[in-house]
Symmetry: D2
Subunit: 332 residues, 4 copies
């Protein structure tokens, strides 16, 4: 790819930094949490989802995060290890924090997601636990933005991004903004601005870029202007996702394009962003073009939302290719 240079002599294609936790999905679909009989258990969390997505497509993936020293922490680690994900950067916290848990209804929209993140383990990640040698082993470092929402994880994340820049590891920021984890939008915009400036590629949806523009351009809805604003510092590529309307991609060198979505029936409203990012990075680190990456990302997102969990519904390379082939045939 012209805009970003992935160093090929690296043992890992990607290291993902952010939260890994437990997703508990309502057993009964289209039912309120109060009325379901129980939950199905999966590994989840934005960063874990992305790592699994890339790994399942066949790439070598590492992980930087922190889980609690308890049975959920061990479950998450065991699952990721079994997938073949390298956990050299996974820390264990015994200070009383808890692995993040998300309880979700299974509805295509207006889906209640109840998050247990009081004293969350992933936010206990510390600068002294970030190993520059580990980051140097990877073509890319993908940061999910919730890692910026509190100290000491915030500083650990910024340090990891600085290390990545200094050793030629491409930095990707998936904005992944959860308003409730921040004091104000302004606070969030400050740290997201710093992180975007340290990133080669920034991926977010329109609402997330609105937050990032809270101070600098309140009220702006023009994607082109937004892109120009964030194609500064180290940023080479800005991708603005618009749900049903697809994605708009802007490069610092002036190149830009749009990508529509692969229309499917959604079973749940989440997981799509993570599969998008995963398939995009897999494509780019394996020699694909930006256009191919965004197309693969869109297809992977469609596959994921039509499945019933986030990690389990990530496609393999074969599933991705066959989905696209079927889709193209149908649309002729």
């Amino acid at each position: 790819m012209a805009q970003v240079n992935f160093l090929q002599d690296r043992a890992l294609d990607a290291i993902v930094l952010g939260r890994a936790g437990v997703d508990l999905y309502a057993r009964e679909a289209n039912t309120d949490i109060a009325d379901i009989t129980g939950f199905d258990k999966y590994v989840g969390g934005s960063a874990a989802n992305i790592a699994v997505a890339i790994n399942k497509l066949g790439a070598k993936v590492g992980f930087i995060s922190c889980v609690a020293d308890d049975s959920f922490g061990r479950y998450v680690q065991g699952y990721l290890e079994k997938q073949g994900i390298n956990l050299d950067g996974m820390m264990i916290d015994s200070s009383g924090s808890r692995t993040s848990v998300a309880f979700t209804e299974m509805k295509p929209s207006d889906c209640d997601v109840l998050i247990y993140r009081n004293n969350a383990s992933d936010l206990m990640l510390k600068t002294e636990q970030i190993d520059p040698e580990y980051i140097k082993k990877s073509k890319t470092l993908i940061v999910t933005g919730t890692a910026l929402s509190a100290s000491p994880s915030r500083e650990a994340t910024l340090l990891a991004m600085q290390y990545a820049r200094s050793v030629g590891t491409v930095v990707v920021l998936d904005v992944d903004y959860r308003p409730k984890t921040w004091r104000t939008d302004v606070d969030a915009s400050i740290y997201y601005g710093i992180a975007a400036n340290l990133s080669d590629i920034v991926i977010g949806n329109r609402e997330e870029f609105d937050m990032m523009e809270t101070v600098v351009a309140p009220g702006n809805t023009d994607d082109g202007q937004t892109a120009q604003r964030f194609l500064t510092g180290n940023s080479q590529i800005v991708i603005i996702k618009a749900g049903e309307l697809g994605s708009r991609v802007y490069c610092k060198d002036g190149h830009q394009f749009e990508q529509g979505i692969y229309r499917v029936e959604a079973k749940k409203p989440f997981g799509s962003g993570d599969s998008f990012a995963g398939a995009l990075i897999w494509t780019l680190t394996h020699g694909g073009t930006l256009e191919q990456g965004v197309s693969n990302g869109s297809a992977a997102a469609a596959i994921n939302v039509s499945g019933t969990s986030c990690t389990e519904a990530m496609p393999t390379k074969e599933e991705l290719e066959s989905f696209i082939a079927r889709f193209e045939q149908a649309s002729r």
Copy 2:
């Protein structure tokens, strides 16, 4: 009952103060948390269990607690209301606390229980939310000890006990000691000592009384000496439970007796204490003797541990009576 006087002109038989939360039980029995496919969902928490136990036996029950302003909080409230439990003392917290959740394996022993109580809603109960008029409506106030483990719930609980004393409501303390929620055993023993002194009836197991004697009689294992130590202040009855060995009951007037257990095959190691307390208080508030109460408590405990949840496995009056009848027949 000679030792304690229950005022009969009260609208409620009992008000229970303590935590109500969500119990998530491993779907597969005898399986580690990492390997189960999901959880069955129930209302739980020591105080909720006791309230349901008393209610199911046919008594009128109220509740003092606090849940989060979210779908789990609403689920807990909805369930208790449907049982017919009065929730005038139930508060809703919107400050970011979370309703307590316990994830449990289903094993008869060595059963991993993973508790999510960082910033727990029930511990947000405040003195200004304790209504003396409500407490005056009940024959008994049953306090579960975890309500003492942190402020502001600690002060709210002590205040409720003081109110109860001043209006003739009998005070029962179910020790319900969870070591991890306290800085040290000594801290715990201080507040449990204060609470025991405010109680007419104190119920705990040997390990719990060991904690309560940390300062005053470290190393003591003599139940009789323990009982004498806590039959001071307002305490009239001390009940020391010893699992397989049954219970020992001591009264300030010198009366004492033992009660064996109803031996059954346990499916889980928890819930027995709550059903014991529930059936005991139901018996006492309905004119039964202390001996009948402890016997009913033991039978209810046996019924509960052979079931698969805490709240759902609480017996009705009929089930309790028929269980005892069957048991007595068999043991002839």
Copy 3:
């Protein structure tokens, strides 16, 4: 004294538990803090004041508290040691807490006192730092109520009182209520109630007893009723101070009396309570009657408020006796 029995075979007459800190007194009298040129430096804090008062009258005094590991902490320790006060119970905290500092204007009334107690060292006192053997060495344990205002000092204080009760050390509670250090009056009243119940002698002014009656008798202003309310549990003597109007003393055995004040021109509105308590306890532990103790306390208070610091203005035995003699001569 009939009401309380001081064990005579003790190495120390009194141990005082509470805060020791730095008092910084405005250099210029009758001047606002903004306009003074600087401060005079003294050791202060309610418990330190009482300890110095008793010590200066000739008794043997110990101390239980905590100061910071810095130059103010060392100053406070050095000063108390130089007076001859035993510091075996004085702890040093290095966690970032700070020795309490009070900046005060020097005005007879409407005197601004600015207190620096964010993360105060004295409130870092822990249960594990309370040595029962130390408390056993003393005839009395005098607790100043601010030690109850936060954990872990709150638990350490209650534990020390329990230890004292168990070894025959007379327990005195000087209420010393600072509203700003408590969440609500109700919270304060709960812990003061517990502490009063553990005390042989309770000393406070009318406003302080109002707080203690917040829950049990809101609005009551009748000293006699107040005294009856607190002459329960272990309390034998209740002393209610009324500033200009002197003190009212109530004993459990029905004995009661009043004591007027020694009228002098006050230079500052503080220090009187601490000198009162000091002279009272010195009198009682040296065989004086309750009447003598309260009279000496009133005289010592008068001497103190006419001086320019708290600790330095505490009278010796000779000064106290000569003050009373002069006063009696004048009033003939």
Copy 4:
């Protein structure tokens, strides 16, 4: 000045952002804190010192900070207002924070400084209290680094710097590093790195730049390499102070020079950095060259350390000029 462009149509020459507090100086020189009789009272704090320095030289100065709603807060405000400093950016906090207080011995070296900053008011400054219109009124925004040491002041400071950049206000960072206020040097280096990148001029001593290089160049002692490392982003000028050895100045355009010190007998080891920064910025905003600014800064520092307080010993324009003239005459 070639390197940095000060917009002349501004109502204020400088706005200083950081802490204003109370300095309490030992009354007796060369005496330990334990042995002094009291303290002299002054307004202090790095940002307040710089503001007073610039103001006293004749420039128009504004201030962004926060003090407590108490007599020390009012004293600080009253003093700064009386100097003629604009306080439109000064906030008042009533949440229980306290105005920063520093107690200092008066010794030329090994001088104990005891700082009371638990829950310090200046660190309560919030993003929503930063007014871009205010910053737009000034030629420069001078940030002192302790404002970065904790949230919410950290975010407020970064926001103020961003606002300044967006409206053409020159940004100056005075590193002002206090190790104890940071969790680790690495944490500090992350935020100082971000702040340096937002600044036109960065001023620090060798130890401060060591901290800033903790991650990127540990162990480096070469000023030239350091300067190159921080002459990135928006930085145009890096000034590295070396105490007795004077200062080294590096510009992005390659220009560089050294400035020796004005040798005097020091009465205290602090205040020099603040007077240096003040005289430098006064010079630059009034059309002086960088060489003149650094020379004036060095002279002002010498004048200040030979005085007995920080704010009071700041020179006027006349004092500064006459000091330099005398010095030059003497050195001929």
